[in-house]
């Protein structure tokens, strides 16, 4: 997914959330929004599958101006992590993204994904293992 698709997805999620606001029970707002986002994403995948493939004008990363060196390093590293995170199988990626990047509790993530807490935990641990193997150079501690 490129940055334009991501922006569209967030916009659609906000719109869908506004439409469904009357049905929201007031609990677990982040989980509720993530669930909507996930559904909108799946809807997008389904409708894309029925359309001919197109190439976006802006498929690269956004340029930042005048960033200090350390920020470039941080961003490069963050990009590397996000790239590897994106390459994980969907179930593991969602668990790691919600629990470790967004720092949601297991309970909130389970609510958002519609699965039991035990399932979140096992997906999370397996996802971390896969990510750790891919990012060994960054997570290795000296022997």
């Amino acid at each position: 997914m490129n940055s334009t698709d991501a922006e569209d997805l967030v916009g659609q999620t906000l719109l869908a959330a506004a439409r469904a606001w009357g049905n929201f029970d007031g609990r677990y707002i982040r989980s509720w929004l993530v669930t909507i986002l996930k559904n909108e994403h799946l809807k997008g995948i389904r409708s894309k599958a029925s359309r001919p493939k197109t190439v976006g004008l802006e498929d690269g990363k956004e340029l930042t101006e005048g960033s200090p060196e350390h920020e470039i390093d941080t961003r490069a590293f963050a990009d590397e992590i996000l790239k590897e995170l994106d390459s994980l199988p969907e179930d593991f990626r969602m668990a790691v993204a919600l629990c470790d990047v967004e720092q949601m509790s297991y309970e909130d993530a389970a609510q958002a994904l519609g699965v039991p807490i035990g399932t979140v935990r096992s997906r999370l641990f397996r996802g971390r293992r896969l990510l750790r193997d891919k990012l060994k150079a960054y997570t290795e501690v000296p022997k």
Binding site: E7, E62, D100, V101, V141
Partner: protein, 88 residues
């Protein structure tokens, strides 16, 4: 006191400890689980190493979240949202 060890390799934790080490890294291990894991760690360099690398990974993942959202992108999303609402 000796503990059960089941090493899989120099970069791997004991097989039965991986879940417990993840809980410790998340700060969610309690009671006996926490006690057993800490006691095991005291005698197991492989699991200590795994826990350290897991904590490093988690710290890195937390940093990813801390990047500030791009104001231009946020403004564009809000604009998209408003114009879509106006169309409805």
């Amino acid at each position: 006191m000796s503990f059960f060890h089941r090493h899989r390799g120099p970069d791997e934790p004991c097989r039965h400890m991986e879940g417990r080490l993840n809980l410790v890294a998340d700060g969610r291990a309690r009671g006996l689980t926490l006690w057993y894991t800490l006691a095991h760690l005291a005698t197991c360099p492989y699991c200590r190493r795994f826990l350290d690398s897991l904590k490093t990974l988690l710290a890195r993942l937390h940093q990813v979240r801390q990047s500030e959202p791009n104001e231009v992108v946020v403004a564009r999303i809000v604009e998209q949202y408003r114009s879509a609402q106006a169309r409805e």
